[in-house]
């Protein structure tokens, strides 16, 4: 009974602590651009931020809701507060916590799982922080090289590099579905080249078309299963 009471009290204080540090982190992360702006003598353009949010922010908001619904039960209270603060969920925190749970055979939804997931996410976050801090110290002497004109084309093409990698990653999951929005976008950008300056806005019709096609395909599959 004492153990149960202790655990209940631990969970209660974890929620309180998790909420407090999440709010502080939010304030720090939103405040940092203003602080840096003050230092550099330039403030953020809030109109541009609002326009940017309407174009890409909505996509990431939907993604955040899905991540919250799916990952919170896997990670428990402490693990999920920490994971949403420290990020890198899909590529690191989730597989790391799952690996730790499997190793010690902790069952989801148990007190043991709560403890193991928190230990795992906290350790993983600390390792990332240490590796990145050491890496940044090593990057400082390399800055003249990184800023050389020879490397300028590399940094000017960070975005195409990202979308090349992501194209292979996502197109292979459903190549037929991918072809339709890709072809529609190619036709649109070819016929109206001025759209290039509003590429991020074009994510909305392109994403909506892809989701609609995925929905139609899903409905067809569900009906097929029901009919079988």
């Amino acid at each position: 009974m004492d153990k149960q009471n202790n655990y209940e009290s631990y969970l209660k204080s974890t929620h309180r602590l998790g909420r407090i540090v999440s709010v502080i982190t939010l304030v720090l992360l939103v405040g940092a651009p203003f602080a840096i702006g003050t230092l550099l003598g330039a403030g953020p353009d809030l109109g541009a931020v609002a326009r940017g949010f309407l174009s890409v922010g909505l996509v990431w908001t939907v993604s955040s809701v899905v991540e919250f619904l799916v990952y919170t039960p896997m990670l428990g209270a402490g693990g999920s507060y920490l994971a949403f603060i420290t990020g890198n969920l899909i590529n690191m925190k989730i597989p790391c916590a799952m690996n730790a749970k499997e190793l010690v055979d902790a069952k989801s939804g148990t007190a043991e799982n709560e403890v193991i997931a928190t230990l795992s996410i906290a350790t993983s976050s600390l390792v990332t922080i240490v590796v990145l801090a050491l890496g940044v110290v090593l990057l400082i002497p390399l800055q003249p090289v990184l800023q050389s004109p020879v490397l300028a084309p590399a940094f000017a093409n960070v975005v195409p590099a990202l979308f090349g990698a992501m194209a292979y990653k996502y197109y292979r999951k459903d190549p037929l579905l991918a072809m339709i929005p890709l072809c529609v976008m190619i036709v649109l950008f070819t016929l109206v080249p001025s759209l290039t300056s509003s590429t991020s806005f074009m994510i909305i019709p392109s994403g909506a078309l892809a989701i609609l096609l995925a929905w139609l395909k899903y409905r067809k599959a569900v009906k097929g299963e029901a009919g079988a």
């Binding site: 940017g52 890409v56 949403f84 390792v127 090349g164 950008f189 070819t190 994403g207």
Partner: protein, 249 residues
Amino acid sequence: MSVLEQLNSGGVYLICGAIVAFIAAVCVIFLVRAWRAGRALGMDVTRMKRAVTASATFSVLPSVGILLGVLALSGSLGVPWPWLRLSVIGALHYETQVADAAAEQLGVSLGSGQMTVQAFPTIALLMSICIMWGMILSTLFNKKYLHRLQQGGKTETRKSGGFGDKAMVAMFIGMVSAYIGSYVGGFISGNGLFTFSGSRTPLAVVAAAALAMAVFTYFSEKKRMAWLDNFSIAGSMLIGMLAAVLIGQ
């Protein structure tokens, strides 16, 4: 003083470093509390140690991959800001895309030559705002959500499963298609309708990065080198960026 020199100044390092230090302290507090709670519950210390050790070793390689992401963004946004973003909350694919969308609103590009001191705070603010929803949802609903699941006797929810997963993939397919469509359209009609004289570099970079990703995936899936996954996105991006250097535009 150049824009990048200002973005890499001591003051910016101090602001970003202080936030990273705060998050590190939060992690230590959660770690110690969970350890003590485990002891109080009578959990085997050896198993808890095993979970910590396994998580530490598991995280080293992905962290090096994330560091490569800091390297990729450092030429546009300086070192301290990508360091903060990728240490604390972000993920490489998110940061790059949102930073580019913000730059687009300001009429600049992430290329090192075009970044301005005036553009940076706007880009940084959009990067902060777009990805804060996980934390907000966690703050508002974590307790209620877990409580409800516990009462329902569920350990995991798959309410959004089924179509939810497919919608996520479709959303990313739509996003990638918009960008690749713009590179193809830019090449075909960038300098006048159907002149085929626009820049080929973004297309070459897309092709190089996609090819690199295919190679990473092949070795990861077919040759049982799953650890390569940790470097696949950042490694493919760096190979794509190398292609831009070789083309020299």
